[in-house]
Symmetry: C2
Subunit: 382 residues, 2 copies
């Protein structure tokens, strides 16, 4: 097991002169610092928020999240929710609860690399399901369900990491029905769902059937530093997830949960998210507009309706890990695509995040990337 | 896998009329609320503390902890430390990193029940090592090392949970030497080590040898609500633990780490801990003084030099789970001892925590416990 390239790169790309499209980081200048400062001031004043808490999590926070999910098409009560230390922990708890060593986990291709690491740590065999520009192909999933009998199917159905693509409603319905027919659990990982910049809202996958677990997160719409996520699961699974969480960290930070409960109660989050979407839309458009002048002819890229990522495939026999070294020499960074594949990595792919940098830095960063792509050693790498 | 009785009881014992000796909770009135409020006010003002952070943790916090460990006899640098979401997470990360399903973990008897749950979730076989009033018996460990070839040995060497006992220096030396001879990892879980009320300081087990991993915590000397602990491990093991932490929750709360770094830098923690020890010493003495008039003749109990717990063994064929129901009817609570045993539970044992309640409530709680013990159905249970 090797360390995550994303995490290793974060160290390299933290030099202030680097414009980084690598990390999936929200724009820090858009954090609601005033709102969070007030929420922490109120919470730190109550000594109960410094004490141990229950494993399930702060009931007020769970209530606010349940109400928000209900409004977004997924009827939810406080009891359906377990607060987790980021949605990454929710994924690990589900894996601990459901996946035994040797079990099969089916994933779209490419997929979130920290999910792949999580399944591999659990000793699972990861089987990719054929996916196209609309995400996982239901007929391909049907074949994998029969041939490989997975325990779990993992998807980021909305504005996927790393591809940016979104699973259409009809496919959601098919996949939820397949899960019920084959008695398999589907995990809908949805950290980006509220960050839509155009097009029509698509109901969450979990609204289509009882076998879909839902992982939510405040990292992209609130602040990632608090590490607050949640698992929505049926009662039958929840008690096992709670036991796994007791072993994992007893409970999530009492004071961060209390601050989030205050923040979500006192803030108009819809207005805040609308502001994020306006800013991110401009960044997305800026990057997409710059791409034709950045990459060589024959390059393909996704054109996401939301989220944080553009997925790029360069023409020819390029290795984007070599290209990254060249890019860093030009003070720009991205994530090579290979680690996002469960098997048979495509070394000509890469992921660009457009949310972290303001438009002027995106333009300059794309200029640098163009220079890296046309430099002699990059040409040699191709 | 059943839910932890401690967690289930927390719900029952939260009725305001119950005096609870059950949970291992620090006294909330002794939290340094002013210090933490200032630390959070400073931290919440910096938007970098709302952003993602590195998996290894806040370097200032690691520096302060390293300096504190060095002063306490364990030379440590920032690079030896991984910040974890409570020391419970450190235990789970070590287990994920080192223990495969079917492996053996050796423990003292009785031992911390959430550790037992963690090893069982990992599919380990838990083997108890004979232990006396001074903790694990080195000759018994030597036999288990040969007979069962454990991957890991787990101990709370100082003011153990649940027994309150402390492993003497000579045994620490023997156990560390055994670990090196048999190439096995020992985990020293040390959340209570700074809470000494009498007697001489004993160097941490990890100071006696290279095969002892150390788990530290701010929960008892700072505040448990922040969920801040740490793993001290050699470089050879650290990179695997970091990967396990990436899968577990990416990193621990940025803002809680920043607040702890500010708090530990600006506060004289030694003076704060001395205040805790003075208050807890009085509570310990109050509970120990009340015990002879509380329990029936023939009862045995430990007389801990520090920490939070007194371990009690009632005479005869009592089941303390039945007794707990009786106690709750008298508005007092404790934890039955059985779940703290890996095998062959002793149903006549129970754990009392003396830190949570002020002396006057301890006196009243012990009166209620005496009444529960002499009530007709309790007598019937014996």
């Amino acid at each position: 097991m090797k360390s995550s390239p994303v995490r290793d790169l974060l160290a390299l790309t933290q030099r202030p002169e680097v414009i980084s499209f690598a990390g999936g980081l929200p724009a820090p200048e858009l954090f609601d610092v005033d709102g969070w400062r007030d929420a922490f001031a109120k919470s730190a004043d109550d000594r109960r928020n410094l004490q141990y808490g229950t494993t399930e999590g702060n009931p007020v926070l769970r209530g606010v999240i349940a109400e928000r999910m209900t409004r977004r098409g997924v009827p939810t009560t406080e009891d359906d929710l377990l607060v987790t230390t980021g949605s990454q922990q929710a994924l690990t708890l589900v894996t601990t609860t459901l996946v035994e060593p040797g079990d099969v986990v089916a994933v779209e291709e490419p997929t979130y690399l920290a999910a792949l690491q999580c399944f591999q740590l659990a000793g699972a065999r990861v089987v990719p399901v054929a996916s196209d520009e609309h995400g996982m192909v239901p007929s391909a999933l049907a074949e994998v369900l029969v041939a490989d009998r997975p325990t779990l199917v993992y998807l980021v159905p909305t504005f996927a990491n790393p591809s940016g693509r979104t699973l259409p409603a009809a496919r959601r319905q098919e996949i939820a029905a397949l899960a019920e027919r084959h008695d398999v659990w589907v995990v809908e990982d949805d950290p980006y769902g509220e960050l839509r910049y155009r097009g029509e809202w698509v109901p969450p996958l979990t609204s289509y059937g009882e076998r879909v677990l839902y992982l939510g997160s405040l990292s992209k719409i609130g602040a990632p530093g608090l590490r607050l996520g949640w698992l929505r699961a049926p009662r039958s699974l929840m008690s096992a997830a709670v036991i796994a969480k007791q072993a994992a960290d007893l409970h999530t930070s009492t004071i961060d949960q209390a601050a989030a409960a205050v923040y979500l109660t006192n803030t108009d989050l819809d207005t805040h998210v609308a502001g994020l979407c306006a800013a991110y839309r401009e960044r997305r458009d800026t990057m997409i507009a710059a791409l034709p002048d950045t990459v060589p002819a024959g390059t393909a890229w996704t054109d996401p309706d939301g989220g944080m990522f553009v997925w790029v495939r360069l023409p020819g026999a390029v290795d984007t890990t070599d290209l990254l070294r060249q890019a860093l020499a030009h003070n720009v960074a991205f994530v090579p695509g290979a680690p996002f594949f469960a098997t048979n990595p495509d070394p000509a792919t890469l992921r660009l995040s457009f949310t972290t940098n303001p438009p002027e830095d995106i333009i300059e960063g794309m200029r640098r990337l163009a220079a890296a792509l046309t430099s002699p050693s990059a040409a040699g790498a191709r």
